[in-house]
């Protein structure tokens, strides 16, 4: 089976699974089972893909006659490459774990089948983005993902908060996509083709279709779209609200799709991005602000699920920052590697907290206190997930974060990009991340003071997940520990990192974790950092960005809309009504004139006719 066949199947299979699942919606459990089986088949396929993946510089794409739309060529090609195969594998794995978990978590939900179908479609869209060698295909996958996230976040549509969160997520990302679409439109129009290779050839060479400033502007537009989808500053606020969705949806959105897709797209466009300094500065500064701010907010959350959400924002900023600072020799692979490892450990963390929340009945830190004692696996999974999140050496997250640090350092000394700022932000973020990871650990594994876990088990007969879920969690835990071995396969093109970086991060992590450890006396370490009730509320509301969106964007647009509606009714349509009214008045006069029917009027008309006839005769007299 060639790598190309694998990539076609990886895109096609989830689509078919989504259709089948939707068709079987009347028997939800069977439908979910079909979705799970298809996702397991995808995992097998993706594993085959790892073995048949082409080696570096040997990316293969299909050759077929492109569709010609006027002057624009649309080849609609899929491709395969080494890093692509690795990313596809982790997407397939996470999707399968999420579906397995969903079958247990949403067992009694009347829309289980619709949920499973949407997850499958979501996976297909992400696979399309990963394998696309055509910017239109990228855009299709990108937008379909946005739509699926709308459906998943709003899954519990009987709750107003879920409806609002879904609306907000779609609108915020769609507004940012104005930039994404325009950037792609500009690149495509300049290259005369939507094919990725044609676009890269046209725009990365010395003779671009337009000035370098235009290239930078177009890439900056693409970057804006990526910032929106990846929940980066200033678009970050939709993601914590998206926690209204069921936890498996969060695991999927955060770990392997949606927010991570921006990294994949920019990695594909990297040969152009590296020449677009303006876009790199934009990306670098936005991610630097985001990673520090989101990490600080994570520390202050009263809800642990929202803590994880903010940690995603921060981690995605880290992977994107690697793209902003990487030099041409380093390439995009450090970013993709961090995306890979983040997918593994973040899905583990989300699925674990989904389980714990079923046990505790809530995701609030207060309620989750000591919930980890329910099962040994929960404790281990939570511990290793957090270790990877904090970037401890040797676990998967630690390795990849170190490579990002090295990339930023090389960028800072090697080229003029935003490397220095990003490097400084990264170092601060490492400390903060360690602090909130430690906090999350302390809260969940606190010794129980109240009821015994067995009593909790009686309250929640479904508190114990099925064996399949436990197996999925175990697989993810093992991968979190040993996933770094993927570097041996050479699928990611990554240089060695020096030991000194490891020592430095270890030092920073112990500072951050130590501070949290010292603050544990008050119960939740957060209380030592965020002391007043007002500040806690502010942190929970994400510094009030929601209000800012409403005041600065939504309200003015709605105000303008009211003005336009008024103008349309009273001015534009006013002329029309005026014309109709004057026609009516003229008709009324004519009717009155006729009604009189007096002989004098008739004589008058005949006289008028004679005058006209005579006038015509005179004028045409030759």
């Amino acid at each position: 089976m060639s790598a190309l066949t694998v990539s076609h199947w990886l895109v096609g299979l989830p689509v078919l699974a989504a259709l089948a699942t939707l068709a079987l919606r009347r028997t939800p459990h069977l439908a979910a089972l079909v979705a799970v089986l298809a996702s397991l088949a995808s995992v097998v396929l993706a594993t085959i893909g790892l073995f048949v993946a082409p080696t570096r510089f040997q990316g293969i794409i299909q050759v077929r006659e492109p569709v010609q739309v006027g002057g624009i060529e649309m080849p609609f090609e899929l491709g395969a490459g080494p890093a692509t195969a690795a990313v596809a594998a982790v997407v397939a794995l996470v999707a399968a774990a999420v579906l397995v978990f969903t079958r247990w978590y949403l067992e009694d939900d009347d829309r289980l089948a619709q949920f499973a179908a949407t997850v499958s479609l979501f996976t297909a869209a992400m696979m399309l983005v990963v394998h696309a060698r055509d910017l239109v295909l990228t855009l299709i996958g990108w937008e379909v993902m946005g739509w699926c996230s709308y459906l998943l976040i709003g899954h519990w549509s009987r709750k107003e908060s879920a409806r609002r969160a879904a609306y907000k997520a779609f609108i915020v990302t769609r507004v940012a996509d104005i930039g994404f679409v325009l950037g792609i439109v500009g690149l495509v129009a300049g290259a005369g083709s939507t094919g990725l290779d044609a676009v890269i050839d046209a725009w990365s060479g010395p003779d671009t279709p337009a000035t370098p400033a235009v290239r930078s502007a177009l890439l900056a537009l693409v970057v804006i779209g990526v910032l929106g989808k990846s929940a980066q500053f200033p678009f970050q606020d939709w993601l914590p609200d998206a926690m209204e969705g069921p936890t498996p949806a969060s695991a999927l959105i955060h770990a392997a799709t949606m927010v991570a897709a921006g990294t994949v797209v920019l990695a594909q466009l990297f040969p152009v991005l590296v020449h677009a300094d303006g876009a790199r500065w934009l990306l670098g500064i936005a991610t630097a602000v985001t990673m520090v701010g989101a990490a600080a907010l994570a520390l202050g959350q009263s809800d642990l699920k929202r803590l994880l959400a903010w940690s995603t924002v921060s981690q995605v900023a880290i992977m994107l920052s690697a793209l902003a600072t990487a030099t041409e020799e380093i390439g995009p692979d450090p970013a993709l590697f961090h995306m890979w490892s983040h997918a593994v450990f973040k899905s583990l963390l989300f699925l674990t907290i989904g389980w714990l929340s079923v046990v505790a009945g809530s995701t609030l830190a207060v309620a989750l206190r000591g919930a980890g004692n329910v099962h040994q696996l929960a404790r281990v999974a939570w511990l290793f997930g957090l270790l990877a999140l904090a970037g401890a050496p040797f676990v998967v997250g630690g390795l990849s974060k170190e490579h990002v640090l090295v990339t930023a350092y090389e960028g800072a000394i090697g080229s003029g990009g935003p490397g220095v700022i990003v490097l400084a932000a990264l170092l601060v973020t490492v400390v903060l991340t360690a602090a909130y990871a430690m906090r999350a650990h302390l809260v969940v594994t606190a010794p129980l003071e109240r009821a015994e876990p067995s009593a909790a088990g009686d309250d929640h007969p479904s508190g114990m997940p099925s064996d399949a879920v436990l197996a999925a969690l175990a697989v993810l835990t093992v991968l979190t520990v040993v996933g770094g071995l993927i570097l041996i396969t050479g699928l990611f093109d990554i240089h060695r990192a020096s030991q000194w970086w490891m020592l430095l991060t270890l030092l920073l992590i112990s500072i951050g974790a130590g501070v949290s450890w010292l603050a544990r006396s008050s119960g939740d370490p957060r209380d030592a950092f965020v002391r007043t009730r007002r500040h806690r509320a502010l942190a929970d509301r994400g510094l009030g960005f929601d209000t800012a969106y409403r005041r600065l964007i939504a309200d003015p647009v709605l105000g303008l809309a009211r003005v336009v509606a008024f103008l349309d009714r009273e001015v534009v349509d006013g002329y029309v009504r005026g014309a109709a009214a004057s026609a009516g008045i003229a008709g009324w006069f004519a009717e009155r004139g006729h009604r009189r029917e007096a002989p004098s009027a008739g004589v008058g008309l005949v006289a008028l006719g004679l005058i006209v006839a005579a006038g015509t005769a005179v004028l045409t007299w030759r």
Binding site: E143, V144, R163, Y167, I171, R174, I178, L182, G190
Partner: protein
């Protein structure tokens, strides 16, 4: 033969139903009309595939000929009309506009069905006419039955609204038609022929001033029909009042006549004049996109909202045409077809809702469709997703290529690129208003089984109509090549043939 059948069968049956068969009972009239629509539609599809020609002299003095032929540009539109024609007649089983609000008879069912068939016939004739004067006549034939549909069979709740909407429709479009007629006569008189095949070459010798004048007249006249901002105000009134089938015909067939006319007349025959007024057209189109989108954010009547979203969507089509390139025309044609299918779907659903609820005021809280009628809800969300330009559904291709085309236009690069940027902002507005509707109508709190105002789910022929339109939305979205492969050669001949 197919061409004759396509024009004669629905035309003759429609005329007979409106005159001799007026007293026919409902059941018979419906069957006869459906048979006529199916035969005419089948003939139209055959004719689109075989491309036969009818060519007879008609008014030799003017050089006007009785010349019908389907080419690549009109074939998808003829097919669209054929499908929509069958669907609107079939929809007469689901909704009976000849009954008044209380269920009493207020008009003849046969007349209603005849009017539907005549609109379809007129559209077939307009799309297949290869002669400028013939095109104009066919274009006008559509208006009267449409006026009957709006004025006699419109919203049963308000007679004043019906009178206003139908009068506005007929007067507005008649003024547009008059301008277009002057333009056509000027063109035909100057060029000395009315045949579309010979016109471009014959009109090439005209001076730039004459070209601009003719292009302005033609574009103005057709812009009313499209409609282009600020000539759009007849549309929301007509849509709100018309019966569901009338709205569908209006959106899917009549508006298409406007854009088709823009391609066929000014763009093909007086390209230099057209490119001089193109920036104005582009700006009007872009204002329409924003204008329609903004109004949709606050509009309370769902039918008016869909009508304003039509204004926004046609803005994309007009923008693509204004670029004057092959890519632009391709974008406009697929955008045209896509809008026809999507808005037809939405109007069938919203018309159905109005039928069930009595009004479609968004300010009234009603049980969510997702809870009480999942099939109708699914169709609605599909239509809304397509309307906001979701890839994989029909709306995406027209919008995306309509943004690409003005990036490298034939002329006026600066203005058109700015327009493309603003149009992209308008696309985000589409998301905002589509999901606003979804949030109000589709999703909502849990509904108890005995709640009032539960909308019955769609079934029977209404379900069939919705399913066909939904399938078309997906098919065009997944494989836009179906349309592009048909239009490609004709478009390159049309645009490439220009000097």
């Amino acid at each position: 033969m197919a061409l004759i059948a396509m024009l004669v069968v629905p035309g003759a049956v429609g005329l007979w139903l409106m005159t001799g068969g007026r007293a026919l009972d409902v059941a018979t009239a419906r069957v006869i009309a459906l048979v006529a629509a199916v035969v005419g539609g089948a003939a139209a599809v055959v004719a689109s595939a075989q491309r036969p020609v009818i060519d007879r002299a008609w008014i030799p003095d003017l050089g006007v000929r009785w010349h019908f032929e389907i080419d690549g540009i009109s074939a998808p539109l003829v097919a669209l009309t054929a499908v929509i024609g069958v669907l609107v007649v079939a929809h007469a089983w689901a909704e009976q506009p000849w009954l008044d609000a209380s269920g009493g008879e207020r008009g003849s069912a046969a007349t209603y069905l005849g009017a539907l068939l005549l609109v379809v016939t007129g559209a077939f004739a307009a799309f297949s006419a290869r002669d400028a004067v013939l095109f104009f006549i066919a274009f006008e034939v559509v208006l009267v039955p449409m006026w009957v549909l709006i004025g006699r069979y419109g919203d049963p709740h308000s007679e004043a609204k019906r009178a206003d909407a139908s009068a506005r429709f007929i007067l507005y479009t008649a003024i547009g038609s008059t301008l277009m007629l002057v333009g056509i006569l000027l063109l035909v008189w100057q060029a000395g022929t009315a045949d579309f095949a010979e016109l471009p070459a014959a009109a090439a010798d005209l001076s730039l001033g004459q070209q601009t004048l003719i292009a302005t007249l033609l574009t103005l006249g057709l812009a009313v029909k499209v409609p282009v901002f600020p000539l759009h105000t007849w549309l929301p009134a007509a849509h709100t009042t018309a019966p569901t089938a009338g709205s569908v015909l209006l959106a899917a067939v009549l508006l298409k006549l406007g854009t088709y006319g823009l391609v066929r007349l000014p763009l093909a025959n007086v390209p230099d004049g057209f490119s001089r007024i193109a920036p104005v057209l582009a700006i009007a189109g872009v204002i329409g996109i924003l204008w329609g989108g903004l109004i949709c954010l606050v509009e309370r009547d769902l039918k008016r909202l869909i009508a304003f979203s039509s204004v926004a969507h046609m803005g994309f089509v007009v923008l693509a045409l204004a670029s004057g390139t092959e890519t632009g025309v391709q974008a406009a044609l697929i955008g045209n077809i896509a809008h026809g299918v999507i808005s037809a779907l939405l109007f069938v659903i919203v018309g159905g809702l109005k039928h069930r609820w009595g009004s479609v005021d968004l300010a009234i809280v009603r049980p969510a469709l997702r809870e009480v009628s999942p099939r109708l809800g699914f169709a609605l969300i599909l239509g809304l997703a397509a309307g906001l330009g979701l890839p994989g559904l029909a709306g995406f291709w027209g919008e995306f290529v309509a943004l690409v085309a003005p990036w490298n236009p034939a002329q006026h690069t600066g203005i058109l690129r700015t327009c493309a940027v603003i149009a992209a902002v308008g696309a985000a507005l589409a998301a905002a208003y589509s999901l606003r509707v979804a949030r109000i109508v589709w999703v909502g709190d849990e509904v108890s089984a005995d709640a009032p105002h539960r909308a019955a789910d769609t079934r029977g022929l209404e379900l069939a109509v919705v399913a066909v339109l939904g399938a078309a939305v997906v098919a065009i979205g997944v494989a836009p090549v179906i349309v592009w492969s048909v239009t490609a050669d004709a478009v390159s001949a049309l645009v490439g043939g220009a000097p």
